[in-house]
């Protein structure tokens, strides 16, 4: 019976062949480490956020006189409302954590390089959508941080030449963040996740065209690829188990750890809290915004700090295969970047003092210096590595995989050493 049904479907829709080519027969490098779990985890958190979000929307009221109380209603009166809400608020942080690790893996292993530029750029687009969704969702509880966060961020658009003030009023639908703003943020907060789904589909189609990168950074021959299912479905699900343990600890034991206490005070348009901080995942970019003592300059610097990742495929001039593990200079830059991000995050968290402003300016300088110096450093590093020679094991791996495939493992350019 089952066979008959599948046959009936297959005559009308490519079900079996699709499952075979994209899942049970999809060739995946056998050496993928657990760092390759985070794309799957991001997809899982997306589903989790949409599921909890839809059920929260059944009880939430997008009206400034009702929204704060409707959150209390969800927390106290709705069956398991507290669970749905804490899963959703913790899920936002989990989403960014998973995405940041996913991006760090891409940077470390050089997965943004040819031919995976479009994966990196669609990913960048997804990051922007995620940031917009998180930002608009944060207004919905209508607490003090919600209100002032939205006020500060919508105010950034004042930096637009000529139409700045009109654009801010247009975005808000009012002279200040008000009822019109809340209602439209709710509508868009509900819409954007579905745009993210569409973006993820494009991301995955690109992935299945260029296939996964792998820790060696070398395109592996057929014999070193294994089917995605069952090998990587089981590996992904194991990682999911670990993720869910960490996630559950936060949901059940520290649900308020990442919620600013000030957001338990209803929004008051006439009183700014003494210390405004964004959610942790925006802190480094917020620190960059604050480090530039000029409105337009700060906004431009912050926008650049998010968008600069897009340029990575061009900034990295090295043709040494693989990621940071074969490239000591790039590896040092990678770790320096991670530390710099943490310094910026800390600076973004503390109130602005003379010392923290200077620290933020130094960290902002290094943030951009790392990206702008990469073309030169990666080029010099390549020359140095070619002179010194890669470790024999790597040379042997490259030669072996190239023999298998009958072609060179990376794109040749003029001036390549044969």
């Amino acid at each position: 019976m089952k066979g008959k049904i599948i046959k009936w479907i297959d005559q009308r829709f490519p079900l079996t062949s699709f499952v075979k080519s994209e899942l049970t027969g999809y060739p995946t490098p056998r050496n993928l480490s657990y760092w390759w779990n985070f794309g799957f985890l991001a997809g899982f958190v997306l589903v989790l956020q949409i599921a909890t979000g839809i059920f929260l929307a059944m009880h939430y009221k997008a009206d400034i006189s009702l929204s704060f109380d409707s959150i209390q209603h969800i927390m106290r009166d709705v069956n398991y409302g507290w669970l749905l809400r804490y899963m959703h608020s913790t899920g936002a942080s989990a989403f960014f954590l998973v995405i940041y690790i996913h991006m760090a893996r891409t940077l470390y292993y050089g997965s943004y390089r040819a031919p995976r530029e479009l994966m990196w750029w669609t990913g960048q687009g997804l990051l922007l959508l995620l940031m917009a969704t998180a930002f608009m969702g944060y207004l919905l509880p209508w607490g003090q941080m919600s209100f002032w966060g939205a006020t500060v961020i919508t105010n950034l658009f004042r930096a637009t030449p000529y139409f700045g003030d009109q654009i801010v009023i247009w975005l808000r639908g009012d002279y200040t963040v008000g009822d019109a703003t809340l209602t439209r943020f709710f509508a868009l907060h509900y819409l954007f996740p579905f745009l993210i789904i569409a973006g993820v589909v494009v991301h995955l189609v690109a992935l299945h065209t260029v296939r996964s990168s792998n820790p060696s950074g070398i395109d592996l021959a057929d014999k070193d690829n294994i089917p995605f299912h069952p090998y990587f479905t089981s590996k992904d699900f194991y990682g999911l188990g670990v993720f869910l343990i960490v996630y559950s600890i936060f949901v059940f034991y520290f649900p308020n750890l990442l919620i600013e206490p000030a957001n338990n005070i209803p929004a008051n348009p006439l009183q700014t809290p003494t210390h405004i901080v964004p959610e942790w995942y925006f802190l480094p970019f917020y620190a960059i915004l604050r480090s530039v003592p000029n409105l337009v300059g700060g906004v431009v610097a912050m926008a650049l700090s998010v968008m600069v990742f897009s340029f990575m495929p061009y900034l990295d001039r090295s043709r040494i295969p693989g990621g940071a593990q074969y490239r000591p200079w790039y590896r040092a830059m990678f770790y320096f970047f991670v530390i710099d991000m943490m310094v910026l995050g800390y600076v973004g968290y503390v109130p602005p003092t003379d010392e923290s402003i200077v620290a933020g300016q130094i960290a902002t300088f290094f943030y951009f210096a790392l990206f702008t110096s990469l073309p030169l450093i990666s080029k010099k590093e390549e020359q140095w590595l070619v002179k010194r020679g890669l470790p024999p094991a790597v040379e042997a791996l490259i030669a072996g995989e190239a023999r298998e495939k009958g072609k060179l493992p990376y794109r040749r350019r003029k001036g390549d050493i044969s």
Partner: protein, 170 residues
């Protein structure tokens, strides 16, 4: 014109394509107008335009914050020393004589919206300090420390009696 001539005339075909695209594009752009306009302030929001304030309850040296168009407006009843100090200086980043910022020297009326990111500054000692990013303003609402680029805005207002003003109309 015979049918074959029309098909063979590529110039005519290209022209028609361009014209159709322009007409279609204009139509789409025009259809966007109501959607974009619907996001601008609605009539009830626009009607919050003016607010009347009775100043008699504000003691000398005291400040009241009132809402106008949903935005906070600071009304500071300045003392003679404050007036003297403010008339003696020209402010900081955006120099402006105190006289241009007040209608009566004892009453300073400014928007309580930091010109940097829109936070509400707090009255601290002489002037205001914005806790979001550390900008400072003097008792004339002029910026004396960044990152705020401009002085606190003076809203349009006028005295309708000795101790009564209307904010929102000059």
């Amino acid at each position: 014109m015979a049918e074959s001539d029309a098909l063979d005339d590529t110039g005519r075909r290209e022209f028609l394509m361009k014209i159709t695209s322009v007409v279609g594009g204009t139509g789409v752009a025009a259809a966007c107008i109501p959607f974009v306009a619907s996001m601008n302030p609605s009539a009830d929001v626009l009607s919050k335009a003016t607010t009347e304030v009775d100043l008699s309850g504000i003691p000398e040296g005291g400040m009241h914050t009132i809402a106008w168009q949903g935005k906070p407006v600071f009304i500071l009843h300045r003392t003679q020393e404050e007036i003297k100090a403010m008339e003696a200086s020209n402010g900081g980043f955006q120099p402006q004589p105190d006289k241009e910022r007040v209608q009566k020297p004892e009453w300073l009326v400014v928007l309580g919206v930091c010109t940097h990111m829109g936070c509400v500054p707090n009255k601290e000692g002489p002037g205001w300090t914005c806790h979001c990013h550390g900008s400072q303003y003097d008792d004339s609402g002029r910026v004396v420390r960044g990152p705020a680029p401009k002085n606190l805005e003076v809203p349009p207002y006028r005295f309708i009696a000795a101790d009564k003003i209307v904010i929102g109309e000059a």
